[in-house]
Symmetry: C2
Subunit: 388 residues, 2 copies
Amino acid sequence: MRDVYIVGVSQAPVTRDTSVRGRYIAASVVREALADAGIDKDRVDALYVGNMTSGLLAGQQQLGGLIADYAELSGVDAITIEAACASGAAAARMAYLTIAGGVNDVVVVCGVERMTHVDRDTVTRALATAADWELEGARGESFMSLNAQLMRHYMDRYGARPEDFAPFSINAHKNALANPNAVFHKPVDLESYMASRVVIDPIRVLDSSPVCNGAAAIVLASAEAAREIKDRARVVIAGSAAATAPLALQRRSDVLQLEAVEISTRKALAQAGAKHRDVSFFELHDAFTIMAVLSLESAGFAQPGAGPRLGAENRIGIDGDLPLSTMGGLKARGHPVGATGVYQLVEAYLQLVGEAGPNQVRDARLALVQNMGGTGATVVTHVLRRVE
Amino acid sequence: MRDVYIVGVSQAPVTRDTSVRGRYIAASVVREALADAGIDKDRVDALYVGNMTSGLLAGQQQLGGLIADYAELSGVDAITIEAACASGAAAARMAYLTIAGGVNDVVVVCGVERMTHVDRDTVTRALATAADWELEGARGESFMSLNAQLMRHYMDRYGARPEDFAPFSINAHKNALANPNAVFHKPVDLESYMASRVVIDPIRVLDSSPVCNGAAAIVLASAEAAREIKDRARVVIAGSAAATAPLALQRRSDVLQLEAVEISTRKALAQAGAKHRDVSFFELHDAFTIMAVLSLESAGFAQPGAGPRLGAENRIGIDGDLPLSTMGGLKARGHPVGATGVYQLVEAYLQLVGEAGPNQVRDARLALVQNMGGTGATVVTHVLRRVE
């Protein structure tokens, strides 16, 4: 398999601005990522778009062709890839696979989502399409209620307390302060966390990520194409893996063990020839604080029940031994669902090339980047490595 | 690039049965296609699902993980690919690319759609998400009205009459008679065509394909994996190409020239090293008779304005020199949108291995198979060749 490089990135600020139109911000980041790469649009073999809710909330599907047209790439092979909230990374993975296999040389990946122009109930219903409709959605479950189930189970099994989850929210909000593209720039401490409203017991407002709009893009290229661009072969995709688990919690043998996280993390690290201790930072899918904790445990960074300790021991900050959500994560950068996986890759890229500003992780060499659909049903994991 | 073979196929009957549940028919055809291939499920590297309307009409997205679970493939890499009505072939193309490039060995492609459980207006709105919402959908256009525009333009420019379009409908219905999986088994002649109700002038009921449910699956494998299965390397994917054009008709330079058809046909034939005269039969995207005519012209089988002549001269039947829609096409086999592209590939496979029954094209060696999203916005073209 050929090496695949990230050679250009772009991200729009994550917002709750209802005037933002999906096609225009998407076309914008695609053009900007190509400009950042210094690649001519005639070199682009394909455009893969990650999106979850455009059909549901904007009456618009076939975003591949639409965005290709508005980004002046009309004619190009273009499709949309959907895996609920993992759509962005799933699109990046397809681009990676086609370049690694030698069938494409340059692929643009765009994640886009627009969610704040409709009322809260409509968004809740749209997000619930990522759950099992027959076994969960039709019985009144929402993403919030399913994550509340998981958090309750966790607290029951391990005797965890609400304050055990606080560090993940506090850390994300702290890191978002210096990220101009984050939706929140509001410091959070234990007091404000504990004081925040309980939405569905035991999940507080400050446990969950916000509904947002956003678009981000990356340009992936083969070694050969990357070499044509001066100084652009700086970050290589050293590992890529995806795995699935049953959508419905009731169809899993142990709801606190995220099998798709376990499988895809193991495969991606193995492909990269890396161990857990080699990971400089972990962009995990902290849609809820319970998901941050379960991801740490299922990915093998903590024993079952011991995830919160990483927060308590202050190891997850920028200067810790396992920095998490370094630009604010889903919690505070925001979670424009189908775009999130691409934002994560843009942020990891910026860390690895030393352009993360005040949030720069010292000597960042290897990034683990993980994007999740549903409550762990689709998990796409990438390992990015700085080219020395 | 490695050779990629179709090694197993399965199709559910296309129906208007509202009791059919998507996940069960999808899981069924996946299991049957694997059984047909004689491949163990442990050999499956990925499941790519083509679907357009499940989120909109069934509140269910993340079909990759869902169908993987119900087909007992849980754990596998699984995603959904969407390109409106071209979703099925787009999913097949991704499978092809990953195997051709050597990153996967065995991939299952499943197309599934369920549309008849909701009322006609809801379906019409769901299908309109394939058009440009801002420039077409929001202005009251539907797929029917956009195709009516194209048909009017065509009749105006070339002086075509309604009866010029009839042969495409008559041929499709004739071929569906012997296809047990077709939704229609009703002969149509010029008289019944002319007598059929005009839905939006000049489109008659018998110009347009029906709203249906269905699921189909194919198993693609590398030469190496196919060789392990006795007698299964019988059909090779000799060419695969995809192209896009602006979604909105008003953004195209000539609405009667389908650029994405032209580009993807040219590329797919060139990859296969084949000429137009080598094509044994053409499974085209006859969602409307006007689309059959425009596809023939843009694909290079007829000069602009001369497409209807192929029908008039009786060249499109099973015994003609360019058989079309050999198992009934979208018009009469039915058009379960995201599944259609996979049905086309299943049917072409059956022709090439000599299992097309009464509709067998004599000495079928090379199939051109074309699936379209929107009014020509995304076009995915495959060339299949019988292995001699």
